[in-house]
Symmetry: C2
Subunit: 259 residues, 2 copies
């Protein structure tokens, strides 16, 4: 049965998509796993970040599935040129779908129900979340076995981490859904900013010591270039510091993910 990981934090632009895409690709390429990447963000950036790898077409999107009568995410899944990696892209209408979801019975559980069958087919399901605490993020968290929380070295990103942790607690209180944190991942770390990095790391350790991952993703423009070329970093430049860091992330997560 698949392990499902929600890549989530409230703050914008801290590397949710970059992490979700490269984690999913790494599991397929390095660990030869069968992986589904689900884009839960109306920006559609998982599809953009993998645009050169997409194969085939689908008439369904994530929004269609979530609102549909018999929901199976497989109907929106596209193969990629990467063996073992499938993707269900979102589209710009996912925002409208999110509004429509708000009046549905059990609105927080629509994705979980849509993933039921897929969880018997894949080894890992990676959920890329939008930069907010709305219905799509809550659906991802309710459908997940783990939360992976990126944080860059800024006070505003730290506040976003506090916000998503607060939501985790709320889902536990409200639904009894205990979503463990797979880890908090420091991203976009510029090693020259020692003072600022130190202050943010101290704060993260102070509040979330047991969750803070050792792996750090450094600033490496190759990661953004790979997205422009529509490839995961392992296909774009497997030897750059960004690729090595995402490899190191997989190795650090291996025990917990049963790799």
């Amino acid at each position: 049965r698949a392990q499902t990981i929600a890549v989530c934090t409230r703050k914008g632009g801290v590397g949710k998509t970059t992490t979700a895409v490269n984690l999913a690709a790494g599991l397929a390429i390095r660990n030869h796993k069968k992986v589904l990447l689900v884009d839960m963000d109306g920006q559609g950036h998982c599809g953009s970040a993998l645009h050169s790898e997409l194969r085939g077409v689908t008439s369904e999107t994530v929004g269609d599935i979530l609102l549909g009568k018999r929901r199976d995410i497989q109907e929106a899944a596209l193969a990629t040129a990467i063996p073992g990696l499938w993707i269900t892209p979102s589209d710009k209408d996912l925002g409208a779908a999110e509004d429509a979801m708000s009046s549905k019975l059990g609105k927080e559980l629509l994705l979980r129900s849509a993933l039921k069958v897929a969880k018997t087919h894949y080894d890992y399901i990676i959920l890329d979340c939008p930069p907010n605490l709305g219905t799509l993020t809550v659906n991802a968290m309710m459908a997940a076995d783990w939360a992976l929380i990126p944080c860059d070295m800024s006070i505003l990103a730290l506040e976003g981490v506090d916000d998503i942790v607060e939501t985790l607690d709320a889902l536990d209180d409200t639904f009894g859904h205990e979503l463990p944190v797979l880890g908090m991942l420091r991203t976009r770390v510029d090693l020259r900013n020692q003072k600022m990095n130190g202050r943010i790391e101290d704060a993260l350790r102070g509040r979330y010591a047991s969750m803070l991952l050792d792996t750090v993703i450094p600033v490496n423009t190759r990661l953004a270039q790979a997205q422009m070329d529509g490839q995961p970093i392992l296909r774009h430049d497997a030897s750059c510091t960004g690729a090595k860091a995402y490899d190191a992330l997989l190795e650090e997560l291996a025990p917990r993910l049963g790799l």
Copy 2:
């Protein structure tokens, strides 16, 4: 009558808040204007970015005002230690307020109505928007005279610009609200990434040549440090490259803003 500027783009983390805060502070400090900074994002980051400067208390937040019977944003305005700069902070409940707004008559115009009186008191009103195209962003755009659109040097940020421009067109079609673009502002520019910068700039020029501002905000960690210390960059370090860039932005915008 105030000029109202919505700082907006769909992409997360490209400097909406950093630009809104430092533009507002610059207008007050450099140009001695009376400025109101309105936080339209439930992350509450305008308040965080100015936490050392806030003075006084208010029992109302932006969400309370937008849902209230007689809406006047002034009831949520706080003075700051910066002469000429006031702020209406958001809070984490703004998300709930956004949901409640969706069922109101003329939901897109609630902020415009709440700013009516304020527009007779201030010279400039700056609206910091969340990273999405939801009701709060639409309210900001419907209340504004200008849209200022930040974009960093990445393909995903470029897609976010296309998304917000599409929304501008939709507001024109639907409401006849023609919101001119004050400019598109390149942010977080790392001058070492010449190739990547060139590709994104060519794309911006290709589509939005007339709107692209000459001023470029370079990567400067002082801007993030200033936020950690709760001050605008002009109060934190007026001589750093980030401060000089935001000064240059004001000078470039001066003719259009009547400065």
